[in-house]
Symmetry: C2
Subunit: 196 residues, 2 copies
């Protein structure tokens, strides 16, 4: 994809220890290649986090407690053992809830939806996840389906590392469509202004 | 404790990869020291499983699909990442459900209650667990409390590795009290027989 496609788009990607390596690096690389600015948001800033497979290693750039959803266009939650740790961080739970409340694209893969359960944000939503937590998603009021990628309004979900290409594409599409919506709202306002 | 205390008691202990080392070896050693026969029940028999901290390594002795709850007096579910894998094994979910239905002591620590959520066995029960899954327990109809060990009828639960001594003691007490109940029922039957 062109590196101009997502120019100006700002994405917050949550990170904690033992993330599923490809579920973090896959969307991260795809979003950056499409021109988005991705900020790694951890429990603290400047801390190193390792993937559960020992392949990827990243450093957080912003603390969740200092992150405001108004500064981002989308939130990405990778899987692995990381979401089990994220859901014990109040600032991460709050950020996920704020993103859902704001209707901004929220993309969660594998065990990522565990954070959205803790944010009580799944009631009435259709989504997919790693099968072990499907019952937790259902008990939280979500409708679980088994598909590589599920899009329900602003919510984008996938099941596992093999789904990463489809997951990344869906996030990019959502950001492009938001950009064009915002763009058309802006030009509407401008054309109305010019008519006045 | 005396090695006669639990003579004749048979305990099934579930095992899967990445169990929390002390949460498996602690109760295992305590139960064996008290004279119980503990069988390690895995997805298959004769397979090796490693603890998530790389300290403990055990070999399963029985496949969950071949295990019958009538052959055991209690079921133990260690924590760590293992329960996330156990809940995807139908035979393990069934075994946990059968143990709960039979009213036999079921002891789960840390993430262990995830298996009981998958068995739909927590509705109306009071229990504790690792705090990250407290909301999943609540959404499954359980009442979550934060204590080192919680006993609600046949259900024994604990939160983390530090709770292991209290957790092991509670399992032993439950087996001793069951043994004396069964013993007193037997002597009642015999005394009634001798009266006839």
């Amino acid at each position: 994809m062109s590196d101009e496609l997502l120019a100006g788009a700002r994405v917050a990607m949550l990170v904690e220890d033992e993330f599923e390596d490809r579920e973090l690096t896959g969307p991260l690389d795809a979003l950056r290649a499409a021109g988005a600015t991705v900020t790694l948001v951890g429990p603290t800033s400047g801390a190193e986090f390792k993937g559960k497979r020992g392949v990827a290693k990243v450093t957080s750039e912003l603390a969740a407690g200092a992150a405001r959803i108004k500064d981002f266009d989308a939130l990405v939650i990778p899987g692995g053992h990381a979401p089990d740790k994220m859901r014990m961080r109040h600032a991460m739970v709050d950020l996920a809830r704020d993103a859902m409340d704001a209707g901004k694209p929220v993309a969660a893969i594998c065990h990522g939806p565990q954070l959205l359960i803790s944010a009580n944000a799944l009631r009435g939503r259709t989504l997919t996840c790693w099968p072990s937590i499907a019952i937790d998603v259902k008990n939280a009021g979500g409708l679980y389906v088994d598909k590589p990628v599920v899009e329900d309004g602003n919510l984008i979900t996938s099941r596992k590392p093999d789904d990463v290409p489809a997951f990344s594409d869906a996030i990019i599409r959502a950001l492009v469509s938001r950009k064009s919506e915002v763009g058309s709202r802006k030009s509407e306002v401008e054309s109305r202004k010019s008519k006045v």
